[in-house]
């Protein structure tokens, strides 16, 4: 089962209500995925030379202030943080690798959920309605966002196994379905320098696209290659810093609906999740064709 949603705004006047709309979309698909939920939202680009890192630790009393203080002192740069549920959004003027290296050595128990200029990624076990409330998604503004409600089938119900998965800068993926060649693909990607945090199949797909984009492929080219290289059932929605894409496997038994108006493009496993968006009644609605890449880019 599982439910996936995506909302890409074409009209920037709607950005202040992105979180409110995505929250309603995720809540509408709660019964497709009651185990966990998560979302990635693209917003507030980091200042030049800075990065945004979303961190997770399960302990509600985890010492985020101490982490930021030590990181700031030891690296010698200003580190800002904003706690949101069990996550911390950290913004710091340092290269990505410096942040990763420091965290791996000083706080190996902290998970990095997403890294980039714009991406923020929050996910958690529990009913989607409760998860979006815990993270205060309704109040968040942004340009585009993806979300997932999970009914676990192939790996454990934990926060780390929840979607979205992000393996590259500002790239994230949500998935409805299951992959059958992910173990072999994970080994191959690991040899090519992609690091994985879990044994989850979807993380492999995210790593695969990260690898191809790193090799210079466009998002569309990477997704087209995925159609022949990734074996299994899938509807994927993919977010990048300024883009949004949807692709289904050639058998296309995992559902997907796309809707578009002059103001937005929405994707969901079911129309129920789209029905309450402004102007949904008048939107152009279609089912994405099998093995076909649909993508939108910010101008």
């Amino acid at each position: 089962m599982c439910g996936i949603v995506g909302l890409f705004l074409k009209n920037s006047a709607l950005e202040s209500s992105l979180g409110k709309h995505l929250s309603a979309m995720l809540s509408a698909l709660s019964d497709r995925g009651p185990d966990s939920a998560g979302f990635a939202i693209y917003r507030n680009p980091a200042p030049r030379g800075s990065i945004k890192v979303t961190l997770f630790h399960p302990d509600p009393d985890f010492g985020w202030d101490r982490l930021m203080r030590e990181m700031s002192e030891e690296i010698g740069t200003k580190v800002r943080g904003e706690a949101r549920g069990s996550h911390l959004l950290l913004t710091a003027a340092m290269p990505v690798e410096t942040a990763r290296h420091w965290l791996a050595h000083h706080r190996p128990e902290v998970r990095i959920m997403g890294v980039g200029d714009c991406i923020e990624l929050y996910k958690e076990k529990g009913n989607p309605k409760e998860v979006v409330r815990r993270f205060g998604l309704e109040e968040l503004a942004g340009s585009h966002a993806l979300g997932h409600t999970r009914m676990a089938t192939e790996s454990a119900v934990t926060t780390q196994h929840s979607h979205p998965f992000s393996t590259g800068l500002d790239l994230c993926l949500v998935h409805n379905g299951s992959l059958s060649n992910h173990n072999r693909m994970r080994r191959w990607l690991s040899r090519h320098g992609i690091e994985f945090q879990t044994d989850n199949d979807t993380e492999v797909a995210a790593g695969y696209f990260t690898h191809l984009l790193g090799e210079g492929a466009t998002l569309k080219e990477a997704l087209k290659s995925g159609i022949s290289d990734l074996d299994g059932f899938y509807t994927f929605a993919i977010g990048t810093k300024d883009g949004f894409a949807v692709v289904r496997d050639p058998i296309a038994c995992k559902p997907a609906v796309l809707a578009e108006t002059d103001d937005w493009v929405a994707m969901a496993s079911e129309y129920r999740a789209i029905a309450h968006l402004p102007g949904a009644d008048q939107s152009r609605i279609w089912e994405p064709s099998p093995a076909t890449v649909y993508s939108w880019q910010k101008h």
Binding site: A252, C253, E270, R272, I274, A275, D281, S289
Partner: protein
């Protein structure tokens, strides 16, 4: 006409109300508003009701229908009129995958396109699609008719038994044991009758007929009348 806002009443309460109508009910005309993609709307009916649904519906609308005539003024999600027994289910827009799957009787009319697996395992239902159908349509179709005014996707009629397929446009590819067959006067007249009952003004002359080569299953000509 009885008007019901399904968003405020809820699907279960609406369906219960429709199921509890007595056999000789006078409450035959219904309008259902605000479906907003809800599942299983007007499923399992067994009364000669006339139901109009204003908007897009989710999974299994009109499933297992008997007698009722259901019209959807919008698009339909997966499994439209699944296992329909009799009556009519019409959708003005498009239908998602597996429309009229395993239907035993009645008529399903899709004004726009139907997605993949339309009429999968159909067992006697008549399906008329104004637009095109996706891949694997009429897979293992046993009886009934599938009329496609537009094009058919890949593997049409794979492993088909005794259902009859008419296609007005192009066929991407035929599935195993599905072949083109001659269009006789008898078939043309059946097709005209199906198009007329669907309310479509389309010329029957341009259609081609497809059916089983009868190589894949144990077909005995002596029993042909029973199929």
């Amino acid at each position: 006409m009885i008007e019901v806002d399904v968003e405020s009443l809820g699907v279960r309460a609406l369906n219960e109300r429709l199921h509890r109508l007595p056999r000789d009910t006078n409450e035959r005309l219904w309008k259902i508003t605000n479906p907003k993609g809800a599942h299983a709307l007007a499923a399992g009916l067994d009364r000669p009701l006339s139901i109009e649904i204003e908007g897009h519906v989710g999974y299994y609308c009109g499933g297992m229908n008997k007698q009722a005539e259901i019209t959807i003024n919008g698009h339909a999600g997966p499994g439209l009129a699944e296992n329909i027994m009799s009556g009519v289910v019409r959708v003005k827009g498009n239908a998602s995958q597996s429309a009229a799957a395993s239907g035993r009787g009645g008529l399903v009319v899709i004004g726009g396109d139907a997605s993949s697996r339309c009429g999968i395992s159909m067992k006697g239902v008549d399906i008329v699609v104004g637009g095109s159908v996706g891949h694997m349509s009429a897979f293992m179709a046993q009886a009934g008719h599938l009329v496609v005014c537009g094009n058919a996707g890949a593997h049409l009629g794979d492993s088909i038994y005794e259902a009859v397929i008419y296609v007005g446009g192009e066929v991407e590819s035929l599935g195993s044991d599905c072949i083109e067959k001659p269009m006789t006067d008898e078939h043309r007249s059946k097709l005209e009758q199906l198009l007329a009952s669907a309310g479509l003004r389309v010329q029957a002359a341009r259609f081609r007929r497809f059916g089983s080569a009868r190589q894949l299953y144990n077909f005995k000509v002596d029993h042909a009348a029973q199929y």
